[in-house]
Symmetry: C5
Subunit: 301 residues, 5 copies
């Protein structure tokens, strides 16, 4: 129990991954402003205005912050779902290719393996595309050198990889190694993969409507800058640290929203896309190590 | 960090795209009303009624505003999803047409290209239809002149373009260039496109129920006009600016709801439909630049 | 801007479509009760009990009202979605029938047109069914006289129309005018239509659980009737108008919930079902005016 | 209007179907406790502790209650959706069986009718299964005596009925009375029915996590038992009735959650499963009364 | 009623399954801190600062806690849905295999039975995988010894079992015991099973974004440690117990979130995965006891 306790405390005091670095300057600025207000009060300016407390109804600010929080988290979770969908579809498509594409000649098996690795290449290309990074050597192992070069010149690389997978499937059907019914189903799985690209692009390219972002920031600023006037009369020099704490609390919630709204980056609060891609790679490797009875002479059980 | 800070501040103070222009007159009106109340007070009318604070429970107003906010944002986001669905389906349908429709004669390839551009025409026609704008030259490049003329006379142009795409697919099947299984799947993708039109129409033609819109405006008005009576006794001449700020806060939230509820316009807070259509155009161009192995003699890998 | 402003105000003051007529009597009753309390106070009864303010925590009442609001709006929007689904499916099914059912004899085309109008009949029959109105002449144009008569004797008319559509499709397949694959897909679209009937019935026949409805009304009544006791000591004769306003606010929110919960009626806050049916009619008319190339000798482009 | 008014009032005062019977004892207990506190105060014990008001923040309790409410209602509505899905699927499956299964011999029609009634038997068996009631004569009319007996020995009767329907369909295909494509689609509809059983079981067998249930009850108890200490100083003997009312309000909300969380019982706040089953029965009867043209010699129109 | 009452009370006072053991140390620590503050006050340090009440707005903390609660419960319920999906799909797949795979030779039936038990093995393997437990004898009865050994060496055992089921199905098709249409549908059901693995992995491997977890803990700590300063002036020695109670309330809500966020463990608040697996086992046993008419000579009715 005490270990659990310590872990809880450690997390509560952890700076890395928290919003403290991003939010501290803003909060200190508000504290600095509070100091000025205190000095003005000491110079007998009439800056003690406790009635300003009703300036921005607490409930309105609170609910807007939570709206911000919910919206950002929904995007984070929706992004996670799309990557979950990529994982699932890659597994399903790989299994079906491995089982349903017939092997008639010696070269069919290696070609199939290459097609399976295209699925991993798809996932990596999607990751790089969402991070707006160029095609890098990470993806090289899963593509023929010619395809690797072509990919570097594309606007939307994952879409291209999806095209190649579809091309492979269609050509297997053309060569009578795949029946039309299973081809059709595999094309649908491929559609799922393309849907996932589109879904992730939607999340990363459509920010929260500008008017909300601005209005929320305006309210936060008004609220935090009105705090010293409310409190200075009673808290005196204590106003500054209290204002820092309150503004830290509020800016922090807004900042978390900004950070997780687009969850495809390299940040600690983003999705572990590298690990997810690695999982897919390992799943494909495992699959290739299995000999399906369909393509062998052994009995099933 | 300080750059980030400055960006944050710049956004908080930005007027363009914010609701300030729309909401300022209403807020100033409330401030003006507050001045009148102050003058009445000075003329010894009994207008200082702090108990009015309980007139409209804060929580009720706050929750209604947030209900408004959530509902409007849900529509915004649902509209974005339908456009995401159009992007995905156009990509999938284009890929499948490019791969699965066989090319038997010399004229088949150019006809296929024309069919792919019909998909772009569909997206543009949907955009214009949702904005209630006439068919304009923007769409001309993606249609034969005859179709362009016909489209100008239609009630629901995107529905017509979908019909032409379906017609093309069905005739490919009739001419044995497309098998029945893949035809059926493509018809389903076409159904998705038509579903997206219907979904967007639903959003743009079904406003929030009238009774809510009215009741919320009534509450806002009551609330803002009761503020001076509550405050004038204590804030004096300060009542006016404070009432302006509070009413700005509240009207602003309602106004954002109004603005993003129908997200298909040209406004800064609307969806970037032009950019989305351009993306589809570029994706189709990229696709056409690729030679599928299915229709060539080369080996796949 | 000033026009916009005036529209905003006009809406805020609009009575038609608002809940004022339904809610006013209840609110006036509460105000009347407040007068009695004031009279009792003047007769020196100890009815001034400001502590009753904590009788029903504001937050509990507020959240319950919003729960009511959200639930009712969700039903409204879900109902709208089902009608959107009917629109989409009618369009898709019509397009597919028009394209895929072959015309072998002279009489096939008129029969096809009749089948398309059955889709409009379906929508109208659903509308009448949800409004619990008898089959009326509005639907007559879209049905043969024999079918019109039969429909009048049915418990669930739209279900019958769906059956006829399915019967038509199946018989086209029997007569080799429709292939089995597209028949199967059309049966699925028909399933969607039947799902939409069921969905709308679900909304209109399953009210909010009784216990919620009762508990919310009890809390509202308790709250509004306790208001005079809280306020009479300080507001005097002003208690009555203030109580009227507060109870109007609260009853209004509950009443909106009641009104939009079942959105299939003729009310101003209900869905525009007549307009939606008309849209479908017009879409079908447009479709029939188009000659598909599949059934003609002309080239596609 | 006055009738509407009276209905509103009648509902507000209705005891049957409300949570009053369940919650009254608990509330009276709290009132009794308040009396004791008052007596202690009169005996000069220091039990007047108005500061306890901050013991449980109002907002926390309120939000937890609403969380409870939302969760319970979501289950209620999800359960309703599953039954809606059963209604829809039974209608669709019945229509497709009636249309698509060919009748070659004299005995085929009566067998088909029996198969349709199996669908009604499925619905009733699901109802009984969810209510944990044994197979009773209600279901007898829709099953052969042999099947009725077998069903009584089963763990999961509706699953068995679904198996029989699938068996019927598969054997129609075996005997060339049903083509493979429509068989496949019907199997999918059957999957929907089985999904609905599973979904309802999920709702009725997975209560709200225990920790929530306990924590909420603890908070409610703490809150209600701290009320007398807060109020006794000011309200005196009035503390008891006020505490009864407040605790009634709060316990009531929790109790409604408990009642509708599992909506498949016989309670007034449960789903009208008997009526829903009757609807399906009537729909099937109507369907059987219709002669499809597919199986007759008449022209369609 | 009084029994119901007693059950309600017993649950409210139950320790097992509640968060009391986890949260008590933290709460007592806060109480201890309150004692120190009281001692400092008695030593005439100026630690009575009632204005700190506004340090963290109640509404912000409350809404964040409820956000935490909703998010965690959504994961719990989503996890339950995936397991419901596994139950449904296992039932559907089992029924379809039992009905549609033809039995041509004597050995076909026992092989089919083995394939059905693979479905149970799939569920158990998923359970063990999610709990990060090794393959244990529980699964042994449902697998051949060879497969059992292989499974122990796999990274993702349930994925392997899904592969074997797909392999079985594909080989039945290869040997003409299953038609291609039903094979395709069964592959889709298998895809559902694999989707469920991926979905559960998503829930168990993607915690709430770190920044939220940290910020919420920081706010809770700040709030609870500021309580003594607010209260000590008025409550004196009573501060400690009151602080313990309040912090217990708040920490408890956060802790429940932590406990149910990953619902696949052995904890009392986790999903009853063992019971769910047992249900599937029993359903398969029941199914095997039924003789389908398709594979027998008897008439159906």
């Amino acid at each position: 129990m005490s270990m659990e306790k310590r872990r809880w405390l450690r997390l509560a005091l952890q700076v890395k991954g928290s919003v403290i670095p991003a939010v501290l300057p803003r909060s200190l600025f508000c504290g600095f402003f509070a100091l000025i207000v205190k000095l003005l009060l000491d110079a007998h300016y009439p800056v003690s205005l406790p009635l300003l407390a009703s300036l921005i109804p607490n409930i309105v600010l609170g609910l807007l912050l939570v709206f911000r929080t919910n919206t950002a988290y929904d995007r984070f979770w929706e992004g996670r779902k799309f990557w979950g969908s990529i994982v699932n579809t890659v597994r399903n498509l790989a299994r079906q290719i491995w089982l349903a594409v017939e092997e008639k000649e010696a070269g069919d098996r290696p070609e199939k393996v290459k097609a399976l690795y295209l699925l991993v290449a798809f996932a990596i290309a999607t990751k790089l595309h969402l991070r707006q990074e160029p095609i890098d050597p990470e993806i090289k192992d899963f593509l023929s050198p010619g395809k690797y070069k072509k990919l570097q010149r594309m606007n939307n690389p994952p879409l291209k990889v999806a095209f190649w997978i579809g091309d492979y499937l269609q050509s297997q059907y053309q060569h009578n190694r795949l029946n039309i019914y299973q081809l059709t189903e595999m094309h649908k799985l491929l559609d799922n993969l393309v849907d996932a690209i589109g879904g992730c692009e939607r999340i990363s390219k459509t920010p929260m409507p500008l008017a909300y972002a601005i209005h929320l920031k305006q309210l936060l600023l008004l609220y935090c800058l009105s705090l010293p006037f409310q409190m200075v009369g009673q808290l005196g020099w204590g106003t500054a640290p209290v204002v820092v704490l309150i503004s830290f609390t509020l800016f922090g919630i807004e900042e978390i929203g900004n950070e997780i709204e687009n969850p495809f980056g390299h940040n600690q609060n983003d999705l572990p896309l590298d690990a997810i891609c690695l999982t897919m790679h390992r799943n494909i490797d495992d699959l290739i190590s299995l000999e399906p009875t369909v393509h062998s002479a052994e009995p099933f059980f």
